[in-house]
């Protein structure tokens, strides 16, 4: 009787989204007697045991490169299916990242079980069921639902579930190597190349995002926003109109059909705040708006606003920050 939680890793250790998923799994296990076991793909001697224990894991299962090298969604799902049977798992949890949703959908398909994506709450109900709350419309609506199937397969809308360290972490985390039994079909889809940009933060994980919308006026208007973002150690994000006009590449889009962000600060410049955009930035801790229109819908979601032309306000802010950091 275990709750399994897939943990993705990046260069700095376990991904923030996966720590949030571990928090969700720990909450689910806390409602019953089941311990949480992290599942990782990578070398056993590099399992970040302390970090996993801090967020509620009491053991880890690791699938080493000798058995499965790199990312292959169906093979990852096959390994989870094997582990779920081996540990008599009552639930399998992953962050609702691109890989998390993909692997869990494969797990649902391989096992014939239902899978609930983007959950924010769940508790065990009667035998083999979970009562849960999940995002619809990228979080603009919440759905109360029941999930029947064992193990319960769920991904976690991590922008809505903050990571919380447990009061009493387990001591040294036992690490169990696992050798999945894989067929050729499980390995037909695998990443032939996975390259993160070495420079700077990604939009999804940036601590500060400076947003630009229609009010930026055109493709040439983004330089001050880029400069501000770099002064604040952040990145530029944009609204949908900016990418559909071709002013900026789609990978910079914040919103339902772009990236969901979870920064400390979202500084939204010249963005009116269509609900599809708000779905992407609802996970921001603080929102500050720069807009010429004091009636823009985005003000209803923000902490502070500056009413004015971003072409005037942003250069002035850049100047003020530069003056501040210049040696006296």
């Amino acid at each position: 009787m275990t709750v399994l939680c897939l943990v993705e890793q990046d260069a700095d250790g376990p991904a923030d989204a996966s720590l949030r998923a571990l928090t969700f799994a720990t909450g689910l296990a806390g409602a019953g007697p089941a311990p949480v076991a992290a599942v990782l793909f990578g070398p056993a001697d590099q399992v970040p045991g302390d970090a996993l224990a801090a967020y509620g894991a009491s053991s880890a299962h690791v699938i080493e490169p000798g058995h499965l090298d790199g990312y292959a969604p169906r093979a990852w799902a096959r390994a989870l299916a094997g582990l779920a049977a081996h540990t008599e798992a009552v639930a399998v949890i992953a962050a609702a990242t691109e890989r998390g949703n993909e692997v869990m959908a494969y797990l649902g398909a391989l096992t014939g079980l239902p899978m609930a994506a983007n959950c924010i709450q769940a508790e065990p109900g009667d035998e083999g069921t979970y009562q849960l709350v999940r995002h619809r419309w990228a979080g603009l609506l919440l759905e109360e639902a029941s999930l029947t199937g064992s193990p319960g397969l769920m991904t976690v809308a991590t922008e809505a579930v903050p990571a919380a360290a447990v009061a009493e972490p387990a001591g040294a985390l036992p690490v169990h190597p696992y050798a999945p039994s894989l067929s050729d079909d499980d390995l037909r889809v695998r990443a032939t190349q996975s390259a993160g940009h070495s420079s700077g933060a990604s939009l999804a994980t940036a601590r500060v995002v400076v947003g630009g919308g229609r009010g930026v006026g055109g493709p040439d208007g983004f330089a001050p926003l880029e400069e501000l973002a770099s002064l604040l150690g952040g990145v530029v994000g944009v609204s949908r109109v900016v990418t559909s006009e071709g002013w900026r590449p789609h990978r910079q889009q914040v919103g339902q059909t772009g990236t969901k962000i979870t920064p400390e600060l979202y500084l939204a410049c010249g963005i009116s705040g269509a609900i599809q955009h708000m779905a992407g930035c609802a996970g921001a801790k603080h929102i500050v708006v720069v807009n010429t229109d004091p009636g823009a819908p985005i003000l209803a979601h923000a902490d502070y606003a500056v009413i004015g032309d971003l072409g005037e306000v942003i250069p002035a802010l850049v100047t003020a920050l530069r003056a501040r950091s210049a040696p006296a």
Binding site: R74, E143, S202, T257
Partner: protein, 259 residues
């Protein structure tokens, strides 16, 4: 190249989502319906592939009789054939939806050239289940990847190959496999064209093929919907124009965001 594109009729939501009094559906009395945004890009991608390599684009949807409108939208963009898997308006879960699509794929293969490629949107705008494409692929024994924002299909010696790329960790990752396959794409893979006038006229006249698959329970059952309580109140206005910058710097400092 025979390509099937799966689309879904979803409410067109504007500034606010309003629910029906029974909290079961989005109130659509004052809004229209549209194709999910990722799927509009899937239709465009399919049309571009057949413009390059030849072949036919079929568009499939599972939904109420009115979902024929969304099939005609796709026909106006360049799809040549449309199939409506007609429901009685009840919501279908992803397992049942995938089964109905698989049945249509088999039917199509029995009556003519089989699909080489199925394109889906990465997730439906409304239910956001993130799984129909993968369930279809597993049932057919085909490979599948999701989140794709760049797709190259090449043909050599009678075998077609897909090279599909997506964003990953601030960079990207790539996948390569032979067809047939299911590929779930995201907005940003292309900029969909506007329908042409001849396209619209052809769409209006087109015959839509129909089938009526049987509904079944899926294991994930909706009880009710609600609009989440907003966490933030109206913004405090710090001031106007550049004069507000010192106050703004003060706020950023208070939040510990300045070096």
């Amino acid at each position: 190249m025979e390509i099937g594109v799966c689309v879904k009729r979803v409410p067109m939501v504007g500034g606010k989502i309003v629910l029906t009094p029974d909290e079961q559906e989005v109130d659509t009395r004052l809004s229209g319906f549209t194709i999910s945004p990722h799927e509009e890009c899937a239709v465009e991608e399919a049309v571009q592939i057949t413009e390059r390599l030849g072949g036919t684009v079929s568009v499939l949807t599972l939904g109420p009789p009115e979902a024929a409108d969304q099939l005609r939208e796709a026909l106006a963009l360049g799809a040549k054939r449309a199939v409506l898997l007609e429901t009685d308006g009840r919501e279908w879960g992803p397992i049942a939806t995938a089964e109905a699509i698989v049945a249509e794929v088999h039917r199509h293969a029995a009556s003519g050239p089989a699909y080489d490629l199925l394109l889906c949107g990465n997730e439906a705008a409304d239910t956001g289940d993130y799984q129909v494409g993968i369930r279809v692929a597993c049932a057919l024994g085909w490979p599948c990847v999701t989140g794709i924002k760049n797709l190259e299909i090449t043909e050599a010696g009678g075998q077609a190959t897909a090279r599909a790329r997506r964003e990953h960790g601030g960079g990207e990752e790539a996948f390569e496999f032979g067809l047939p396959a299911v590929i779930c794409v995201k907005e940003g893979i292309n900029l969909p064209r506007y329908p042409s006038l001849p396209g619209r006229l052809r769409a209006k006249r087109a015959v839509i093929e129909r089938d009526e698959p049987g509904w079944r329970d899926d294991g994930l059952r909706k009880r009710s919907l609600r609009v989440p309580a907003t966490q933030r109140k109206q913004a405090t206005v710090l001031g106007a124009g550049a004069d507000a910058v010192p106050a703004l710097v003060g706020v950023l400092e208070e939040w510990g965001l300045l070096p």
